[in-house]
């Protein structure tokens, strides 16, 4: 392994600009003549818009335009869409209500935009926005996802506020298995609603070139090409070839920046109307009521076991709250990203899952780090842990008895696992966590008055999203391949254009490691280009831990073509047969001789084209690949959480965290560990701290960072992270993906640990001190104060 090749903990190329304040995030971009946009947003969860009076706002200094939903509709700007079709059990298509970028007739959640003010400065726009008078007729709101069917109907297209009633699996076979079970474990679970809170707020800057009719959008997006496609083809803003989307440095996404939001549509429209660039940057309060939220499931789950603890079947019933409108990929999250992972790491012969997706008067809900898979893992790993306790079987032993041990393994819920070794990651985690010493630590903690508990989560996820035909057959509106273009310059340096996008993942480093390793050229001589639809022809963006498994595979395929072409050039230079050329360590050698040509010489010769005739070989050295994976990848592993709970206050401290993950090939272990740390932190946040709370009128009570509890440094421990490795057979590098694992595995590990400590299974997330204290009181009424 070279110092910068695959497997090396190379320090990141992108860091220099970030640690010196030279990053270029969307809000840092300034265009000549730029104006600022501020949105007027609904204070009501559900209301009719009776009238909007913009006259006072328009008369204020600096105000250039005040635009409303009526004008947007008059200009025939289309509505936003959800791009994944789900059919209900009865065969009917999901009920997708129109989502206008500015509401014209009615508002459906607090924060729904009704007008936009464009002014010379931010302060002027903000002042004017306060003067826009909106006459609302408030309507009763539907907030609780479990009570939507009887509530007032939000959208005409969706009776009983139901988007779909979907199912997966064989209900009758599951019923039969349950009838023969020796033991059934039942759980009611609320998977708490979360706010992604990337630290960079969303922003959009739009510019119109009246001379060419081209629009340019700088945007905080994880997938600029899909954004362009939707805004062109569905919203109808401009033809695709006249719209350029640039995603510059993006300050975290976690899913929330995948989606196409109203604000970018409105900025593009307004820029064309006012003839000047229009910039909008969310403040955090706006992010809370406009960024798509995550999770929000209400679930009843049951696991059937035989007398030996062998799993027979699982039955899961979930209500998924999708909020006021269907966000871009919202429909897929509680269906094909959720129910398909309910088999976990286990051989479960039958699984049946029903999911009702519903509208409520809350912010739209869509993919958030893990997207469906954390919800599935929480169901599976809580069921397994509780079943072990109820049957008095060691939870490690129960898992081992049910692990899938041979591959490929076809689960009853679509997925075909292709490789893994669940015992290996479990064993390594048990050692790293010193589980053997746990009882001693528990006794020692008890002497200090603390309750110590141990919780496991042996999770699986489906990443490397995704084979296009497979997702197409499940309703996805796009293919999920990835593209790469490798451009070799005459001096031998290389630019790689990728359709993925990095917003913290370090692609500029890891992708360069791959190229450096393969071509034998210095790491410094490789640049990665992403996030600009004028530079990269097309790509599907970054989410679902796909950039390594799919994006880097596309680079491998393009590099294969580069090598083949370069060999032809080298053959002409060395006056040898093409088949006799060997490429190794950046050098082309004629086999069996000492005749060779260096990489840089071959690159130069490809361009000067003096050694070959144009009829035989085209000059230049540039190749493209579109790579479509043959399967999902299946990262899996074991996380072990050890907690101490204060008997008197219910305060939980995480005292040890061990994560052992199988991500297949690891390109840069430093970056991979960082991804794991961040994911665990978000999962611990869900388990202990975070919850988006709406009151009965639909006001977001946790609408700022003062009210919504983000994990701080002192809330978290340091993490012990280890790796095992089985290669992913479905892609050339054997990569499985690592971006979401931490967030998927960790909530169940935390709750399993706390419930172990306190001896009470009923415990809501987030398990705040108050929640744990109340549970302790229920468990031991005489002991809790």
């Amino acid at each position: 392994m070279s110092a910068t090749g695959i497997g090396a903990a190379v320090r990141r190329k992108e860091d220099l600009r970030f640690i010196t304040g030279k990053g270029q995030y969307t809000d840092d971009v300034i265009r000549p003549g730029e104006t600022r946009a501020v949105f007027v947003r609904s204070p009501h969860a559900h209301a009719k818009i009776k009238a909007i009076d913009t006259s006072a706002a328009k008369s204020l200094p600096g105000v250039i335009a005040v635009l409303t939903g009526k004008e947007l509709a008059n200009d025939k700007i289309g509505t936003l869409i959800c791009g994944w079709m789900i059919h209900s059990k009865d065969g009917s298509p999901m009920k997708m209500a129109p989502h206008p970028a500015l509401a014209a007739e009615k508002v459906c959640h607090v924060g729904d935009a009704v007008a936009v003010v464009v002014a010379s400065t931010y302060a002027q726009a903000r002042d004017a926005a306060e003067k826009v008078k909106v006459d609302y007729e408030a309507l009763p709101a539907v907030i609780d996802p479990a009570k939507t069917k009887s509530g007032p109907q939000i959208h005409e297209v969706a009776p009983k506020n139901t988007i779909y009633e979907w199912s997966l699996g064989d209900a009758k076979a599951v019923d039969a298995a349950f009838a023969s079970a020796k033991h059934v474990t039942k759980l009611d679970i609320i998977n708490n609603r979360l706010v992604p809170n990337a630290i960079e707020p969303r922003a959009a800057l739009a510019e119109y070139d009246a001379g060419t009719g081209h629009l340019t959008l700088w945007n905080t997006t994880q997938n600029p090409h899909v954004s362009r496609l939707v805004i062109a083809a569905f919203v109808g803003m401009a033809p695709e070839h006249k719209l350029r989307v640039i995603a510059p440095d993006v300050g975290g996404g976690f899913g929330s920046k995948i989606f196409i939001y109203p604000e970018e549509v409105v900025c593009l429209w307004a820029a064309r109307k006012v003839g000047r660039p229009v910039k909008w940057t969310a403040d955090r309060s706006e992010s809370f009521v406009t960024d798509a939220h995550g999770r929000d499931h209400v679930t009843h789950a049951e696991l059937a076991l035989d007398a030996n603890g062998k799993f027979l079947a699982m039955r899961v019933n979930t209500i998924a709250n999708l909020g006021a409108y269907m966000s871009t990929f919202s429909s897929s999250v509680p269906t094909y990203l959720y129910a398909t992972l309910l088999s976990g790491q286990y051989d479960i012969p039958q699984i049946y899952c029903e999911v009702d997706a519903v509208y409520t008067n809350t912010v739209p809900v869509d993919a958030y780090r893990g997207a469906g898979r954390p919800e599935a893992t929480f169901v599976v790993e809580r069921l397994v842990e509780v079943a072990a306790r109820e049957m008095a079987i060691d939870p490690v032993d129960l898992r081992r008895r049910n692990f899938i041990k041979s591959f490929p393994h076809q689960t009853p819920v679509i997925m075909a696992y292709d490789a893994g070794d669940y015992n290996a990651s479990l064993k390594k985690a048990l050692d790293l966590a010193d589980v053997k010493g746990f009882n001693k630590r528990k006794r020692e903690a008890a002497r200090r008055g603390k309750l110590r508990g141990l919780g496991y989560s042996t999770y699986i996820e489906a990443c490397g999203i995704a084979p296009s035909q497979a997702v197409g057959s499940l309703g996805c509106g796009v293919g999920l391949w990835e593209s790469a273009e490798v451009r070799v310059n005459p001096t031998g340096s290389v630019e790689v254009l990728t359709g993925t996008h990095a917003h913290g993942q370090g692609h500029e480093t890891t992708f360069a490691q791959l190229v450096s390793d393969r071509l034998g050229i210095p790491f410094e001589n490789v640049s990665i280009v992403h996030g600009d639809t004028d530079k990269v022809q097309f790509g599907m963006g970054t989410y679902g831990s796909r950039s390594g498994a799919v994006g880097m595979s596309a680079i491998v395929k393009a590099l294969d073509k580069i090598e083949a072409k370069a060999k032809k050039v080298a053959a002409h230079m060395l006056e040898a047969a093409e088949g006799d050329i060997v490429f190794k360590d950046g050098k082309f050698t004629v086999v069996g001789t000492d005749k060779s040509a260096a990489w840089g010489d071959v690159a130069l010769n490809a361009y000067i084209a003096h050694k070959f005739a144009g009829q035989e070989l085209e000059p230049g050295l540039k190749e493209t690949s579109f790579y479509d994976p043959t399967n999902f990848t299946f990262p899996a592993g074991c996380h072990i959480c050890e907690v101490e709970v204060d008997r008197d206050t219910g305060k939980t401290e995480i005292v040890n965290w061990t994560a052992v993950d199988d991500f297949g090939t690891v390109v840069n272990p430093m970056i991979v560990e960082g991804q794991v740390h961040g994911g665990i932190a978000q999962g611990i946040g869900q388990a202990l701290l975070e919850r988006a709370v709406y009151d009965q009128d639909g006001q977001l009570v946790t609408g700022s960072l003062m009210d919504y509890c983000m994990p701080h440094a002192h809330d978290l421990p340091s993490f012990k992270v280890g790796l095992t490795e089985t290669k992913a057979p479905s892609n050339p590098l054997g990569i499985k993906g690592c971006g979401e694992a931490g967030a998927i595995a960790s909530p169940a590990a935390v709750i399993n640990a706390i419930t172990d400590a306190i001896g009470m299974e009923e415990l809501a997330m987030p398990a705040t001190s108050q929640v744990v204290w109340a549970a302790l009181k229920r468990a031991q009424p005489s002991q809790a104060a």
Binding site: R11, I19, G21, I199, P711
Partner: protein, 165 residues
């Protein structure tokens, strides 16, 4: 509009600002020093931390006019453009203490203030407690804590000027 004068990263600057203009707006919009970020509107996230007269402050909660005559240091002022990085910057890179980079300038400026107040030999508990005013969503803080401990030690070894001077 009233005028304001201050020294930013060693250079005297002046500008006309509204009374309500925040220091962070003055830095970002008037001076085009966009390394100082805004991540929230309630002074929780710390992406905007700069040093005012050597002490860490949230530039989103400071009026530009309050800084009349003050010495301001931002992330751009920690190292000379042609010189070596500040040891704390170097430590963040070496220990992978950043991912998306958005919270990073504030983290580094806050870290220097922790060193100023608590010295160069920082234990994990102290760093975690002292980072209460800064939020990172990417790293889980694990590597930020390591970076700050290492950066503080490297600063003690000398050579680099302290940002909080």
């Amino acid at each position: 509009m009233p005028g304001v004068s201050m020294t930013v990263n060693g250079k005297p600057v002046t500008g006309d600002v509204e009374a309500r203009t925040l220091l962070v707006q003055f830095l970002r919009e008037n001076l085009r020093l966009t390394g100082t970020h805004v991540g929230c509107d309630t002074s929780q996230c710390g992406a905007c931390v700069v040093h005012i007269d050597g002490i860490a402050a949230k530039a989103c909660t400071t009026l530009a006019l309050q800084c009349e005559g003050a010495m301001i240091t931002t992330i751009e002022g920690l190292a000379d453009p042609d010189g070596p990085l500040h040891p704390m910057q170097e430590a963040f890179r070496e220990h992978h203490g950043l991912q998306c980079g958005f919270c990073t300038p504030g983290m580094i400026m806050a870290a220097l203030d922790i060193v100023r107040r608590r010295g160069n030999d920082l234990d994990e508990h102290t760093i975690r407690e002292q980072l209460d005013g800064n939020i990172c969503r990417c790293t889980g803080y694990h590597n930020i804590v390591k970076a700050i401990a290492a950066g503080a030690k490297a600063m003690a070894k000398g050579g680099a000027r302290q940002a909080a001077e």
